[in-house]
Symmetry: D2
Subunit: 323 residues, 4 copies
């Protein structure tokens, strides 16, 4: 396995099989008969979230943007060497996206790598069009994994660096890993795998998140708020978790920190530190650990998930205030 991994720039978009989430503050780039293509106010790519109608809720793929066209070849080779199923996709197979490579990765997730995307209008300063949480851009994927050390090694081999962990003297329970110099492009949460835990979107300031909560209350849709708002211990971000009608989870996230220095050291949280998941000590709600979104394989079939063993499970081992 001598090939170099593709040069991944960042987490780029999620394709969900779902229903509408519009109130959150996304910009609608395009609409098909069966899909909405959404982006944040700051993004000039085609989309960072696709909501596609389908028979049952699922995540069809998690897409990473790569630096150059040649990184598609690199991705094909790198995953091929690992025995993964790989699929070349022509430009337009996903609306607004150029030629791409999709793979069924060693963890069981369908990932996409692409370089080219249709450019869209810069709405960063079109404040009159911002609404809801004024979502700026995609920030990260959080995946549910039943073997965190294995997931860690895989992403490290793909060129990701680690910013923070949750661990104890026995093992690693969760990790935050990045390509762009933020806290993460991918985080791993212990649970049935493969599943998508959530997709995180960045918004400029905490008051944008409070405003979103107010909107949910005003519209009597407050049951979509699953957890938060609060401050994470891990990442230091101010956060809110929302669930849509299909159970898909979205995090609205702001104010993490720069991680790009060559000697940046991971910050290690003990699994018994009550502040790691909420720095203010708020109890995590049980559904946040228990529920996540099934993922599809390259044929569009749900990949069976395998549960996590209790001793590997942060929710079993750690302190979270709800047991």
């Amino acid at each position: 396995m001598a090939s170099a991994p593709p040069n991944i720039v960042r987490a780029a978009y999620t394709e969900l099989i779902s229903t509408d989430l519009d109130m959150l503050g996304f910009v609608l780039t395009a609409r098909d008969d069966d899909a909405l293509y959404l982006r944040g106010c700051e993004e000039t790519t085609h989309h960072s979230l696709v909501l596609r109608k389908g028979p049952e809720p699922a995540a069809a793929c998690l897409a990473f943007r790569v630096w150059a066209d040649s990184d598609l070849d690199a991705a094909e080779e790198w995953y091929g060497e690992r025995g993964c199923r790989v699929e070349r996709r022509p430009a337009g197979a996903m609306r607004g996206i150029g030629a791409a490579v999709r793979v069924e990765d060693p963890l069981g997730f369908t990932l996409e790598f692409f370089q080219a995307t249709d450019r869209t209008e810069r709405l960063l300063q079109r404040f009159e069009l911002h609404h809801g949480a004024a979502i700026a851009r995609i920030d990260h994927f959080n995946i549910s994994v039943n073997d965190a050390p294995k997931a860690y090694d895989y992403y490290e081999s793909l060129g990701f660096r680690c910013s923070e962990t949750i661990e104890d003297e026995h093992r690693l329970y969760a990790a935050w890993m990045h390509r762009k110099p933020s806290v993460h492009d991918v985080a791993m949460t212990g649970g049935a795998s493969p599943r998508l835990h959530h997709t995180g979107f960045f918004t400029p300031e905490a008051h944008h998140i409070l405003r979103l909560c107010d909107l949910f209350g005003a519209l009597e849709q407050q049951h979509h708020i699953e957890r938060g708002p609060g401050r994470h211990g891990v990442s230091n971000a101010f956060y809110l978790y929302l669930r849509d009608y299909d159970g898909h989870r979205i995090e609205i996230y702001t104010s993490d920190y720069f991680t790009g220095d060559p000697d940046h050291e991971p910050y290690r949280w003990n699994v018994n530190d009550m502040r790691r998941r909420d720095f203010w000590g708020a109890a995590v709600v049980p559904s946040w650990y228990a529920e996540s979104t099934p993922v599809l394989d390259l044929d569009g079939r749900i990949v069976p998930a395998i549960a996590i063993e209790p001793e590997r499970s942060e929710v079993v081992v750690g302190a979270d205030g709800f047991r």
Copy 2:
């Protein structure tokens, strides 16, 4: 002059002869062929700002709400004893407002006193309808006066208490006076008189004001921002001044303080303290002192304004950073 003044509750609304201001974040209660009736998100009265089409920009009246119907009689008697022209107005003479008394007051302003108003829907928590600066409610009138001590004595005799002043060893230049226990319902700024300097509206937090500035920039309407945002020394409020196409000035204002204690003492600023008008030392723009809105008498004619003598003028005597 033995009669008691009317029991004034608070500054209630301004009637401007003007064009549209809609972007600011007001709620539209009603619309006539020639007028818009606007209120803040928190107000359940009919309006706190009326914009009426007319031949030239002016302020038709400043309205105070009184506690009881009997206060209309009190107002009529109190102003009558002072030789002021007084006019009874039936319910509906102003849309949405009950029976009222209008007077040409000793300073030359047309004031209205009313108790009854049509009730409107409470939109305080209809966050989905809030926009712009999410204006909550009217806060105060600021009037241009050429004799601040005289204006002070008149409002004191009407039952107003003083929260702050600008003065030096020679004289009083400006004062903030209140009925409700905030910094002011009426403030006096030195200048040609009678003129309306501005009407102030309250918004919940500073970021609502920053958002409004962003909107003005996004719409290339930034020339309507005259001064601010900044922190006032007087009142401690975070502020922004806007001018409409007719030159009418609106202040968006937040975070002053409680003044209702029986022994609350006025806070006295020296006219040479650069921080009194902007606590951060930002230069006041010349137009802010020089320009204000003509007022109408009870017959709808503009009242001629008399200039202020230089030695009474804060802009001549004081420190403001622009000379």
Copy 3:
């Protein structure tokens, strides 16, 4: 019972038998061998919170400020007519407070009425001294009552007006009542009575409250955060509840609204509206309903509390997300 009630201006201070709460952002006016006298940054009165060492946690009194000296006589007479035990206290009986009247009121609480207080330095704009949540001023008392309609009638007879309620077709469960034109000086929460549920303090903006949470986390004192931050349905305020080592509860509170109009109508929440206690639907924690501070009689003895009947209890009847 012909006498008029005293002219109460507002909720003025709480005297707690307790230990230290300093981190919150109070200003220390004075310190005795056995007591701390604390106030908010905006207050120029002597204190709005007294923490006095004692054998067991309790609230010694809730103090209201009255408008005039003559209101002390009015209070004595008004409570005397109701058969309440009344005690005259000379100036200085409470440090920093003038002559006062203390009563054991019809609900079993010890109240104080005073007009005179030592003046303290205005720190409103001494931003370099603000810390923690930059607490501005006392806002309200929340008392635990086992008969809300009785408490409502009593406070109404004392001259309080109602801003909001929680009720259903059967009965009243909770009410917010005010003298100053904010949502409340006194609120009633169903529970064992007489007990003090909490004292509320006002801070300028929501980010001051988030900052306080961050401080608690940083100092590993996050277990003092009992509930919130969040937006109340009732009052629309942004809130946080803290408990000290003795279980005394403090609310940090911001952004309610003006209630001073003569025709202001109470806003009535149904006890089954999940949003009334938290507009974003966050579950209320059980301790918030179950626990409160014993109160002392005029002899300093704890007044036995009587439990609330289940059918009168909001926590039994209503929707709060934790059962």
Copy 4:
């Protein structure tokens, strides 16, 4: 000139010959007899600002962090090929910094390249130690140049990408260029050259900047506020400019955007768009264009500055509201 440039990670620190700036919210890492070593709350490097006592105000160097030790050799070779004076410096020549290369660059500035630095305690979540503007980290250098196209070409050859420009049909007046995927590590402002215009530091949210203004007012140091707060058109950041007693300029800066995509296109502002320097149309103050900090050569002597020709000067050509 065949060699590759060093792999620069980001702007890393400024060494100023100066007096104290402490109030801003920096963390003091170390103190010598003649220098303060300061960093932001988020930084675990030794410092991002050095203030060293000296005979006259100047900027001794602008330091960039590089990815690997080998980049020191690359820097030496790359600048050597361009005929620049280059100096190797042993570890500790600057306290807290490892081996370094300093150069007198083609624009006349003294730059430093280093990889190794002493690690310091992570204070990101030690909120009890945050004060003032809670400065998080260094963001960028802004240099005064009299030939913007030349400066642009030089930085482009060093591997910087352009995020935004100010230009017209005749020429380029200013540019923002980055290595880390933010709006900039280096910006160029037209003026006498070589001079340092300012160093920019990142803070989490706008209210941290407002808080800093309040502190300056409270301490009667408001004359140190030169410009702002406001929203930049370029970068979309919320900003404040401060000047110390020596005239050194610091920018406090928050909320720009991600620029790391492979096809990220520069956003081009016309020099006559009043919003480019302040999105809300606030007039730029004349000193902001006219004044900047002299720079030192490798021998510590001030480099003579050459004025900008009027037709190359944005302040002469453009719209800024103060002429």
